[in-house]
Symmetry: C2
DNA sequence: CAGGACTAGTTGACGCGTCAACCACCTCCT
DNA sequence: AGGAGGTGGTTGACGCGTCAACTAGTCCTG
């Protein structure tokens, strides 16, 4: 151990910096603007979107798997959303532990109102910045990084 | 108003999804692994890195500008770091409101220990996934998105 | 059918980020 | 000098994410 620390080359460093800066600014702006325009956080948005897309009624764990979140995170999120009336929890008759998460009418309304706003922001901040080729290239690169990470168990 | 919601094309949607998934997984893993290996959060890391890089003593606002954070965020962060002994606050003689943020010896030690760990994770999760050309392409794309966002005031 | 292993979901503590309100001090203008 | 307005920094409330510990119900196996 105590191997020589292998620093990044200037090009690698610069690429990492650019990526991080971009990603932070992009996500930050998108979050704030969606929140400001629709009274929904990005977390609310994705949960409600996936939930309604799947019929509006799902077990918590399934929902968590669908959006690739830990169940604890989903539980907290659903708790907050329930408090705001976007979803409701129902007991599961088949499994005494289980909980169904159900999109309320208010929740359905909220997502339908938020979706176009969300798309518009994504377009304006991100899609419009790039040519179709660049967009495609970025997708391929993203998939490569994803695949590379998925090979690592930890 | 009530313009037709212009949805994304399937390619655009797919590109956005890939990017989002990648970015979330990457940042998530990096945060957790850096935190686990070095007892420092990414926020601690960047603040301490920039601070020591600049001599280890800086006004809060300048530090905030350096890392492109709001002063409130920096104030909270510095408060937490001070509680853990990584930095200290000193009054500024020239300006009664001012505060100097100073890296403590413990802080310097922490960053020196964390830096190689951090680099190693960045390399393993990200740099190693891509060829130098891809890395370069990604950097260019990131810069384009950044530049595009910077043209928008809001 | 008893017990252990496993799974569903919750909870609490903590760090982090944002927003808005808020002092305290400084500057500048008259 | 005095007051308006700007700046440096803090604070508190809230939403979010993680981790670890926990409850309670289910399943499996002897």
């Amino acid at each position: 151990m105590d191997a020589p620390p292998r620093w990044l080359t200037p090009e690698q460093q610069a690429a990492w910096d650019s990526f991080i800066r971009m990603q932070e600014k992009l996500i930050g702006r998108l979050s704030r603007q969606v929140q400001a325009d629709s009274r929904m956080s990005p977390a609310d948005y994705i949960v409600l979107a996936k939930l309604t897309e799947a019929g509006g009624r799902m077990r918590l764990t399934d929902l968590a798997k669908l959006v690739e979140w830990e169940k604890s995170r989903m539980s907290h999120q659903v708790g907050r959303m329930a408090k705001r009336g976007l979803v409701a929890k129902e007991d599961c008759p088949d499994d005494g532990r289980g909980a169904f998460i159900v999109a309320t009418p208010a929740g359905r309304e909220a997502i339908e109102e938020a979706a176009p706003v969300h798309v518009e922001h994504v377009r304006r901040l991100f899609v419009d910045a790039l040519t179709p080729e660049e967009l495609d290239t970025l997708a391929r690169i993203s998939d490569r990084v994803l695949a590379h990470m998925e090979k690592q168990h930890y």
